[in-house]
Subunit: 288 residues, 2 copies
């Protein structure tokens, strides 16, 4: 069954990236090439969650592929801007040069900006169906000051704070920074179907937190070559993380509990949600 998950994840990444490349091919500008670069090579976890949630609610795959590609575009924009010299100043992403290194800073700023527009263009597409406006509204909330950008801003403030964050504050930060988009992705399928998204929402909240704890563990234990990006940046910066607050063993145990909670939340879907359960197990077992 883990095999089925890996195949579904790979297909989600491939199909999302193909749709994004198709949308960008017509534009004969360096910034369009930079956007293609930025969306290439992602694991596609967020797009996968959209497609799986949609399938569980009987939503047509072609319709769901638009928001799946949209959330991958939005995630890519956040990485391009995060990597800028004024932010995390990273030169490597997914084993390749970051956009501002391969092009320049102005192109990276514009590519990120246009990837955000493209995300909304895909979610607002008439082919998405009658609930496309609700998808746009929830994506705007998940990505903005109350969601992802709010989390990023808290993350930056934490770096210069007098005292390191405690567990409550770091959880709040995570729920914005990485949690909000993961939750949006899981809820998109039921939202498209006009169904109750609360089971998928509970799944995603636990999944997103487990994902962040796993990220913190990888930052300590990971292999930069496998991850395709710099590691041990948090410890070097003296930043509080789930690992620095809990210790490695307790962080691992907490992530495993959260994966169980994520799987339990899928009970209403029965065996149909087996691939989503495997996805939850994957986020703490991954090496990159």
């Amino acid at each position: 069954m883990a095999e089925a998950f890996r195949a579904a994840l790979a297909r989600a990444a491939e199909d999302s990236q193909a749709l994004l490349r198709e949308r960008l091919a017509a534009h004969d500008l360096p910034v369009a090439r930079a956007m293609e670069h930025a969306v290439t090579g992602g694991k596609g976890l967020r797009g996968f969650l959209v497609l799986e949630g949609a399938a569980l609610h009987g939503v047509d795959r072609a319709a769901a592929l638009r928001p799946a590609a949209g959330i991958e575009a939005l995630h890519a924009y956040s990485l391009v801007h995060d990597d800028l010299p004024a932010m995390d100043d990273d030169e490597l992403r997914r084993g390749r040069p970051t956009v501002h290194v391969a092009w320049d800073e102005a192109t990276a700023i514009l590519a990120g900006d246009a990837l955000q527009s493209l995300a909304f263009e895909l979610c607002a597409d008439p082919g998405v169906g009658p609930h496309r406006a609700d998808l746009c509204l929830s994506l705007a909330r998940a990505s903005g000051i109350a969601g992802m950008v709010g989390g990023q801003a808290r993350d930056i403030m934490a770096e210069s704070a007098a005292e390191p964050l405690d567990l409550e504050r770091i959880t709040e930060l995570q729920q914005g920074k990485t949690g909000a988009l993961i939750r949006w992705s899981a809820e998109a399928g039921p939202v498209m179907a006009g169904a109750d998204p609360s089971a998928m929402g509970r799944y995603a909240t636990a999944l997103g937190l487990a994902f962040q704890i796993a990220d913190d563990i990888l930052d300590v234990e990971g292999d930069a070559a496998k991850m395709g990006k710099a590691v041990r940046k948090d410890a070097g910066a003296g930043k509080a993380t789930f690992v620095s607050l809990l210790g490695l063993d307790a962080a691992r145990a907490r992530a495993a509990e959260l994966v169980e909670a994520a799987c339990d939340a899928l009970a209403p879907y029965g065996e149909g949600a087996a691939t989503l359960r495997d996805a939850a197990r994957f986020v703490i077992a991954r090496e990159s």
Copy 2:
């Protein structure tokens, strides 16, 4: 009647900015204060166009105020990112320090990003009515690679091009860079009403081009104190503009012709569009 236009423009700016401040007040983060700073002091021309177009089509003002505030947020995001050191590197905007000067670059990047999200949040608001998804879709197109960002990217490329742009290319650049959002603003009212936006679209196309020519004239003739930003940047950078290509007198004549064309396009609305005609005359008469 020009008095009525000035009053309507001031009210549009005030009401849009009040709604944006209301949405941001709940967020206790420096980036939220930076967003408020960025939306303060704008003339509100784009929001005014939304509200006037909505009024002409019988759309409730409270409903139209959301996209009016949304387009002002989106315009503000474009200015915040444009002013960054890696882009135009401006320290003054509307007579006050730019966001990256008053805060820092990271905050300016995030404030711009979250202002874009806020623009879509306002357009997707259920209070906008049954056509909110169409507003989101057209805003995504107008702001992205096929619209504003595409125009900005062409503008940057023109700076390092071997030959200055010709009139056709500079018109194409303008239609993206400033034209797309002005057109979206004018069309938003009819779109909200489910009506034909083509008369407003023709008005806005002529208006947007006149606006850019006037901007180029102001860059040559304007008073930095009145404009609240640096002037004579284009000539200094050796950039082709409507003034460098046509000369001052012909540029002024072309702008006046375009204002006439904009007014003519409003014929289907009769006397109801008098304020919009005054708006067209204003864009070439303004001193800032």
